[in-house]
């Protein structure tokens, strides 16, 4: 994706598993709340019935009809509104999508328009819900001994076609995404990590807290590794346990021809990281980049 400022931003297409998970969460929310509202209405209707001395003839027709209207309109509004309203919001994601860390976006870096959100959600019906509902109705019919012919297979094929649709294109688009010009991407999320070069032995005058030694690496030792190794080391310094650091320590010492001691691995690695990065970044400013240890 390229922003209007000419900056390229990498976009990660959401994994299909996340999307399936999001859909399942959303459908569960919808179904559970529909059942809850239905139970509530039944409870009110029972109250009405009790109020009319348990005589159905005495029931006010208007009141029952009103309950029915509420139910019908609620189902319609909830069914279509749930996805629509949430995806139109600033997050561009339903509750399920938010939980699985994904959102919708317009393909190719355009703005997401209300029309696109409407289009992608109207198509969801034929992709999943109609075939599923019809299939379950057919299953019940077949169970009661009725002949349903090849209709079941046709519907299964239909269902599978749309279900597998995201697997047959690079961007994992479903039919609704194609029609709306949208895709589902990972929601970027990240906390700013601490500055490594101001910690421990990585600082300019820093020395090891254990031995008091200041590690200094020469030209030859720093020219072995490149950017890839530097960033691997960064990742390890940020979140690896001491045992893993010991292994890295031993490997680096062997590579640069030092004698690996023990007990001061972290300070060594911090110092090595800071000095290697300083060197590589200085080279970058002169337009020299060393991608990895092989280049």
């Amino acid at each position: 994706m390229i922003t209007p400022e000419g900056l390229t931003l990498p976009i990660t297409i959401a994994p299909r598993a996340s999307r399936a998970g999001a859909l399942i969460i959303d459908v569960m929310i919808i179904v559970v709340s529909l059942i809850a509202v239905a139970l509530l209405l039944v409870w009110i209707a029972e109250g009405l019935l009790a109020g009319s001395a348990l005589d159905p003839e005495q029931l006010s027709r208007g009141a029952l009809e009103f309950l029915g209207i509420i139910m019908v309109l609620f189902i319609f509004a909830w069914w279509y509104g749930y996805f629509l309203v949430q995806e139109l919001g600033p997050r561009g994601a339903t509750l399920g999508k938010r939980i699985t860390g994904i959102r919708i976006a317009a393909r190719g870096g355009a703005r997401l328009t209300p029309e696109a959100v409407i289009a992608r959600n109207l198509l969801r019906d034929i992709e999943i819900f109609y075939p599923l509902v019809t299939l379950s109705v057919l299953a019940v019919l077949a169970d009661t001994g009725q002949d349903i012919g090849s209709l079941g297979w046709v519907l299964t094929g239909w269902f599978l076609l749309f279900l597998l649709f995201p697997f047959f294109n690079r961007d994992a688009l479903r039919a609704g995404d194609i029609v709306a010009g949208t895709w589902v991407v990972e929601r970027p999320r990240g906390k700013l990590a601490a500055v490594l070069s101001t910690q421990g032995a990585a600082t300019a005058e820093g020395a090891s807290e254990v031995t008091g030694v200041r590690y200094d690496f020469g030209e030859a030792e720093l020219s072995i590794y490149g950017e890839k190794e530097l960033q691997t080391l960064e990742r390890m310094l940020r979140d690896s346990p001491p045992e893993a650091l010991a292994t890295v320590h031993a490997t680096i010492c062997r590579k640069i021809g030092w004698d690996p001691g023990a007990g001061d691995e972290r300070a060594f690695l911090e110092a090595f990281y800071a000095q290697l990065r300083e060197r590589l970044e200085a080279d970058m400013r002169f337009g020299k980049r060393k991608a990895d240890k092989f280049s």
């Binding site: 994706m1 922003t3 209007p4 400022e5 900056l7 931003l9 994994p15 598993a17 996340s18 998970g21 009809e65 009103f66 029915g68 209207i69 019908v72 309109l73 309203v85 139109l88 600033p90 561009g92 939980i99 699985t100 860390g101 959102r103 976006a105 393909r107 997401l112 328009t113 029309e115 696109a116 409407i118 109207l122 198509l123 019906d125 034929i126 688009l173 039919a175 194609i178 029609v179 709306a180 010009g181 929601r187 970027p188 999320r189 990240g190 700013l192 990590a193 500055v195 490594l196 070069s197 101001t198 990585a202 600082t203 300019a204 960033q231 960064e234 800071a274 990065r277 970044e281 970058m284």
Partner: protein, 357 residues
């Protein structure tokens, strides 16, 4: 699937104060520490915007947002050239992308969109589909004629089209009185609101189906139209047998002019998508489909509104007004209204909006 970060739902964790800038040995880290405050402020504003409360954000912050976004964007491009700190680069990429969604996102609220939709957007989208509407209309008329001819040749078709339930009087061989009675009503106003809600929900569902089926190159949409209109043809044939076509037409016209128009539009919207995918013209198929899909989606929102109107008309005036002439007046008025809204209504600035949209 990523595990949800629970802590992010319950307020933000305390942010550690950045170390002082002089202590950083690296030039790239000094660069980062100098700008970190701006990034964090941007992140904070974004978090509040994503939570949805634009009103809770101070004016200062809203005004600062574009500038902070550009700062972060330029920080990112500088950092890419000068820094090898992978964690900072990843953070900046995520931050700029989040900010991009807010700065260039759909900043048009639903109410504003709806106003634009009613005041021109809807009729413009309908006019853009004129060719598909013509095709769908042709198919619907053909469907009606086919239905009529089929039943006229073999009465068994009537039962195939209408699986008649018990107590159904509208079957071949019914007397004139029975048919006439089915056009009237016998209940008064009771139960009509529930009837209307039920009709609306059902008919909108059918229309959305007709639209969504357009994805298969529009063919299923057209088949759905033919099937629905064949019912109408069969019914016309039945009432014609007893010389009641005018009465039936009046009965139908009250809501039918709106409902059939809506069905026509949803079929046309589906066909529009199908046609764009089959014949994308100069555009890539995906782009053509997306453009057609967005245009049709506008029409479909309108169809849902038409279904609300049709359901109200069907439940109330049709059941309460019995006179053939008055029924025609209501239906004709609705038809005139829709036609003039779609064809004649072109508010000022329409051409400019069309360029933009």
């Amino acid at each position: 699937m990523k595990a949800p970060i629970i802590s992010s739902w319950f307020g933000r964790g305390a942010v550690a104060a950045p170390p002082d800038i002089e202590s950083a040995a690296l030039r790239s880290d000094r660069f980062r520490l100098e700008r970190e405050g701006d990034w964090r402020r941007l992140e904070d504003i974004l978090a509040r915007m994503e939570r949805g409360g634009l009103r809770r954000i101070a004016d200062d912050d809203l005004i600062a947002l574009p500038a902070l976004y550009r700062t972060a964007a330029s920080s990112l491009s500088v950092a890419r050239e000068t820094s090898l700190d992978a964690a900072t680069l990843a953070y900046l990429e995520a931050l700029v992308q989040r900010a991009w969604f807010q700065v260039y996102g759909p900043r048009q609220g639903f109410i504003r969109w709806l106003r634009g939709f009613l005041l021109g957007g809807w009729s413009r989208a309908v006019r853009a589909l004129w060719l598909d509407i013509c095709i769908a209309l042709f198919v619907m008329v053909t469907g009606t004629i086919v239905g009529w001819l089929l039943v006229a040749q073999d009465e068994a078709w009537y039962y195939r089209l209408f699986p008649a339930g018990a107590g159904e009087t509208r079957v071949p061989g019914a007397s004139r009185e029975q048919l006439l009675k089915s056009l009237g009503h016998d209940e008064g106003a009771a139960g009509l609101a529930g009837f209307a809600a039920q009709l609306f929900s059902n008919n909108s569902g059918v229309c959305i189906l007709a639209f969504a089926l357009g994805f298969a190159f529009g063919i299923p949409s057209l088949m759905l139209l033919v099937q629905n209109m064949a019912l109408l043809g069969a019914m016309l044939w039945l009432f014609n047998g007893q010389g009641l076509v005018v009465e039936l037409a009046a009965w139908l016209s009250v809501h039918g002019t709106t409902e059939l128009f809506g069905i026509l539009l949803s079929g046309a919207a589906g066909l529009h998508i199908g046609r764009a995918m089959a014949f994308p013209g100069k555009l890539p198929v995906l782009d053509a489909a997306a453009a057609a899909g967005r245009r049709s989606a506008v029409v479909m929102v309108g169809v849902v509104i038409m279904m609300v109107v049709a359901a109200i008309l069907e439940a109330y005036p049709r059941q309460l007004v019995e006179d053939t002439g008055s029924r025609f007046v209501i239906g004709g008025t609705m038809l005139t209204f829709w036609l003039s809204y779609f064809i004649l209504y072109r508010p000022a600035g329409d051409a400019a909006a069309q360029e933009a949209g």
